[in-house]
């Protein structure tokens, strides 16, 4: 049996998430370089879009299935994945660095006696070894690391590794029933938040800071986010003031994000904020203080009043999209 790299896919509400295809592509890419075989595994009940994986060159996908595994259960999912990895002699496992992946991957690591590197932004093969690059101190520094354990686990930051479609490939889907899953810990309900998109997953983020002057003005941010299909973010100052929920906070004690576009509105650019967003591909700053530190990291800036610029920007983008 060829040694394997396993992409652990993530489904939510019966749908594979985009980051699952990223994990699959990473697994395939590493497998090709290391001479291993790439496979995928997913846990759940019915999953509607498993066939989409066929675009990404993975030859086999195993669906670990049980009626009671529709919702996430850390205990049951971790056991299912770990025993599958053992049976199949997986040498490397790739998880998405999502809420689920971060919960699950370390537990699987202990079960497999494997080392683990979280939140990788780059995975390179050198001398037949995987070298991972990941941010530390919320992106103020980067480390290159390797694992010395026999089995290795890496989690990948969403949106960083682009899924690569492969010409004309097929995927063999196998179902495997999980008997008596361990449901000691289980999700009993999901409370959807009002915001449409989460900053951790969004490709574009429009963020507001204290310069927005009050929660009643955040509709300006929301309107721009809406036309861009973006998530709303916030600085800690406005989260602490209770203007925005803390799940929107970007920064060292909020979320570290790396979207392709980050628009900072009325945000000064304190070091803790910059730590969380400066790896964004493009940064736009709107701040009336031309000396604000945010301009030191911005690609494009307008040194003006957010209340004048935001509505104009929303209009201009609407025009473009219509």
């Amino acid at each position: 049996m060829a040694e394997k790299i396993l992409a652990v896919l993530e489904q939510r509400e019966g749908n594979l998430k985009k980051v699952s295809f990223e994990a699959a592509s990473v697994a395939l890419n590493l497998a090709n370089q290391l001479g291993l075989q790439a496979e995928a595994v997913v846990v759940g009940k019915e999953i509607s879009n498993l066939n989409e994986l066929s675009k990404f060159g993975i030859s086999k996908l195993t669906h670990l299935k049980n009626e009671s595994l529709e919702n996430y259960s850390s205990s049951a999912y971790a056991e299912a994945i770990a025993s599958f990895a053992k049976e199949n002699e997986a040498k490397i496992l790739i998880f998405p660095n999502t809420a689920m992946g971060v919960d699950l991957a370390p537990r699987v690591a202990v079960k497999l006696n494997s080392g683990i590197v979280m939140d990788c932004m780059k995975l390179e093969v050198k001398d037949n070894e995987v070298i991972a690059t990941r941010p530390v101190y919320a992106g103020k520094a980067l480390i290159d690391v390797k694992l010395k354990s026999d089995i290795k686990i890496f989690t990948i930051r969403p949106n960083v590794f682009k899924p690569q479609a492969v010409d004309s490939s097929t995927v063999q889907i196998e179902e495997k029933q999980i008997d008596n899953p361990n449901l000691k810990t289980k999700v009993t309900a999901f409370k959807k938040s009002e915001g449409k998109l989460d900053v951790a997953e969004a490709d574009i983020i429009v963020s507001g800071g204290r310069g927005m002057k009050g929660p009643e003005n955040f509709h300006l941010i929301e309107e721009l986010a809406e036309v861009l299909g973006a998530a709303v973010g916030a600085s800690r100052a406005v989260v602490d003031a209770g203007w925005r929920p803390h799940r929107e906070q970007v920064g060292q004690t909020g979320k570290t994000v790396s979207p392709s576009l980050y628009i900072a509105c009325g945000i000064s650019g304190a070091i803790q904020h910059l730590a969380g967003m400066s790896s964004s591909k493009y940064i736009v700053a709107i701040n009336k203080d031309k000396d604000a530190p945010i301009f030191n990291v911005a690609d494009y800036g307008i040194a003006g009043d957010v209340f004048e610029i935001l509505p104009a920007l929303t209009e201009e983008i609407k025009k473009l999209k219509s």
Binding site: Y72, V102, I116, L142, D144, K192, Q249, I302
Partner: protein, 250 residues
């Protein structure tokens, strides 16, 4: 009930990182250290839980590190923790080795409920609590923003993409704390005085294998400051053009 809180000490978030001469860690000169911000939520929740269940509950704070970490433990004592334990270790330990040291101590203390911060803001891995739980065979709920303990039963809400999951489990368990779980209390003057008198127990940290090897630490490529396109809305069309044609992000 015995409750443990795992805390770590991290560089002040205002620190500008300089790479150390070994190219594997940061240069500590001039760096001030603080208690990991998420651990304050963990301590607060432990104290609240103790107050709620009453009886002879004890809150232990445990940390892995060198002598300098005593300051952080002292702060946790000042907030109201009963006992502090320093698991002495110098040199690099990865999350698994740290979790191993913590879980060995938690096992010998017999703590049934463990709180951790959801991540340390230095290495940011966000996995210590989950590792500790798995090593102890405890249940685990991570990134918790709401926690209720009723007898043996736990109902918690954890933050995930796009909302919150309501999760149920039972003791023994590890909970990792996210901002929003509570408002950490300030240490009272009385607490600070009492903390000064307490002894911090010191033991060697369980020595386990380290799987992770840091090959290099470096700074991210620095961004060139970009262009300020104007000072009023007349700059907007140019901004949109650049985002579309040059950056190609919209």
């Amino acid at each position: 009930m015995k409750i443990a809180v795992c805390v770590s000490q991290v560089p002040d978030t205002a620190t500008r990182i300089k790479i150390g001469s070994d190219h594997k860690s940061i240069d500590p000169t001039g760096v001030t250290y603080i208690i990991n911000p998420y651990d304050e939520f963990a301590i607060e929740e432990a104290l609240k839980t103790k107050e709620k269940i009453g009886g002879d509950s004890v809150v232990y704070v445990i940390s892995v590190g060198d002598d300098s970490v005593k300051e952080t433990l002292r702060k946790a004592l000042a907030m109201g923790a009963d006992e502090a334990i320093l698991l002495k270790s110098s040199g690099y330990k990865d999350s698994i080795a740290i979790a191993k040291a913590l879980s060995e101590e938690i096992k010998s203390l017999g703590c049934e409920l463990v709180f951790c911060g959801k991540q340390s803001v230095d290495f940011d891995s966000g996995i210590t609590g989950q590792l500790v739980a798995e090593m102890l065979g405890y249940n685990c709920i991570s990134v918790v923003v709401d926690f209720k303990l009723d007898g043996n039963k736990i109902i918690a809400e954890r933050e995930i993409e796009g909302g919150r999951e309501v999760v149920e489990t039972e003791l023994p368990a590890v909970i990792t704390a996210q901002k929003g779980l509570n408002e950490p209390r300030y240490a009272s003057l009385k607490g600070i005085m009492a903390a000064k008198k307490k002894t911090i127990a010191e033991k060697p940290a369980f020595d386990s294998e380290v799987f992770t090897e840091i090959l290099d630490m470096h700074l991210p490529p620095s961004k060139q400051p970009g262009r300020i396109l104007g000072t009023d809305k007349s700059a907007v069309p140019e901004l949109v053009r650049l985002l579309r044609e040059e950056a190609k992000v919209i």
